[in-house]
């Protein structure tokens, strides 16, 4: 029996779909048992969504009312819904739009940017923008998440094969630091360093003063970035023991900063520490409560 799989894209960059294609030979092996019944990069259909879908992979966050309706329609047809990628699972980079007013953003894009020739906000044949950028689980019930921006191809293949075998897949509950081979120093850094500076080999990036999100981020990617001396940006979202990625990281930095880091000048921490999770953070929940009248 073939398993019917559907993929769908919301407010996102299609990067997760590219990652799905990037599974390569694994994908060819999978396609023996899998029938791809609906997929927006391949099929030019919008609605109706075919019935009896076994697994639905939904990429991107909910930004317009069209996204919202499509997510609900997909949920009706699918038995197992997976939030595919950081946008769908935690709100993603799009979530940082929640630090601004939605209408102000629209005004800015259509009136102040140079490339917009019309200088007017389109009102016909376009879906309405929602006041908030939502993650998928704010709108429909989500059975499983595949985190990452984009998710690791090996992990996607592994999760789909586990699902095909009839088992429930599992994500790692550790943090990136558990997988990272770099050696941590006991001395806290004296200065913060910017991303373009060149780090030393083999020493923890956080100890060297780079803002690495490893301690608060879910493991499972094999610490691919920090292995190559690139600070973690936290795309895989909070690990299981972390209640809020941004604020836990802020906490960790406060503990590190005991001896006065002199050049610590960030006006807001949301963009660095909650880059992928702002839309699902406790701080944003509080703000949503404040905004409702």
């Amino acid at each position: 029996m073939t398993v019917r799989i559907a993929t769908m894209g919301m407010a996102g960059c299609s990067g997760c779909h590219i990652a799905l294609l990037d599974t390569g030979v694994e994908l060819l092996n999978l396609l023996k048992d899998v029938e791809l019944v609906y997929s927006y990069p391949i099929v030019d259909a919008k609605n109706p969504i075919p019935p009896n879908i076994d697994v639905a992979l939904i990429e991107g966050s909910i930004r317009t009312n069209h996204d919202k309706e499509m997510a609900k329609a997909m949920r009706k047809q699918a038995k197992f819904v997976i939030a595919f990628g950081a946008c769908s699972a935690h709100g993603g980079v799009n979530g940082l739009a929640n630090t601004f007013d939605a209408q102000e953003g629209v005004e800015y894009v259509y009136h102040k940017t140079l490339l917009m020739a019309q200088k007017q906000v389109p009102s016909e044949h376009v879906p309405q923008i929602l006041p908030e950028n939502l993650r998928l689980s704010d709108v429909v019930k989500v059975d499983f998440i595949i985190p990452g921006c984009p998710p690791h191809p090996d992990e996607i293949a592994q999760i789909i094969t586990t699902l095909l075998a009839g088992e429930t897949p599992k994500l790692s509950s550790k943090s990136i630091c558990d997988e990272c081979p770099l050696e941590r120093l006991t001395e806290p850094p004296k200065q913060l360093r910017r991303i373009h500076e060149i780090p030393e080999q083999g020493i923890c990036l956080l100890s060297q003063g780079f803002l690495c999100m490893g301690p608060a981020t879910r493991a499972g990617c094999g610490a691919e970035c920090t292995r190559r001396l690139m600070p973690c940006t936290g795309c895989r979202g909070p690990s299981e023991t972390v209640w809020d990625q941004g604020i836990v990281m802020l906490d960790a930095l406060a503990a590190m900063e005991k001896d006065e880091i002199t050049n610590f000048k960030l006006s807001r921490l949301a963009g660095t520490f909650a880059r992928y999770t702002y839309a699902s953070s406790k701080l944003d929940n509080l703000r949503k409560g404040l905004k409702k009248k």
Binding site: T99, W243, D244, I247, L250, D251, L253, A254, A255, E257, K258, S267, R268, L269, A270, K282, L283, D284, L286, R287, G289, L290, K292, K293
Partner: protein, 162 residues
């Protein structure tokens, strides 16, 4: 159209005016066991007066106060959160107060960005500085009186009064 719009607007405005008149700020104060709780205790035994709505929660060290505690307090409707710890280099746990100070400075910045600016205060004092504790509590109380009720709470009371 304008009539329809103006009608519901007056109700919350009235409720707001009413709530402002009867506004009694609720301030949650986290005091560390070794210094500032002692200061608050001393203020009590030496019969100094401080605002009645400052509710004290004793914690082992000011470094124990997680940002989660602060966010939770605001969510539950606290109008202000006050955290007090030991003087610098006098913390019972060596450096808990310094950690707490750094952490709360950063958190205050984030809170200001979402519209809760000026509602979080952090002060350092020893167990003997009862007058400073009273001064901090009452000046913070005045500050909150000026700022008005916690916007989250106002939403709730507005809905109930209608």
């Amino acid at each position: 159209m304008s009539k329809v719009k103006s009608k519901p607007k007056t109700k919350p405005a009235k409720a707001l005016a009413k709530s402002l008149l009867t506004f009694k700020p609720r301030i949650v104060s986290f005091c560390c066991h070794y210094c500032s709780y002692g200061a608050a205790d001393l203020a009590g035994t030496s019969k100094m007066s401080y605002p009645i709505n400052v509710e004290i929660i004793r914690v082992p060290c000011s470094g124990r106060v997680d940002p989660l505690h602060v966010l939770r307090a605001f969510k539950e409707g606290a109008d202000g959160v006050m955290i007090t710890g030991c003087l610098k280099d006098q913390c019972h746990f060596v450096s808990g107060n310094i950690y707490a100070e750094k952490r709360m400075q950063k958190l205050a910045k984030e809170l200001e960005a979402i519209g809760l600016g000026g509602r979080l205060v952090f002060e350092l004092m020893s167990a003997g500085m009862a007058s400073k504790w009273v001064e901090t509590a009452s000046s913070f109380y005045d500050q909150i009186l000026k700022l008005g009720p916690n916007p989250l709470k106002r939403v709730k009371t507005g809905v109930k009064s209608e």
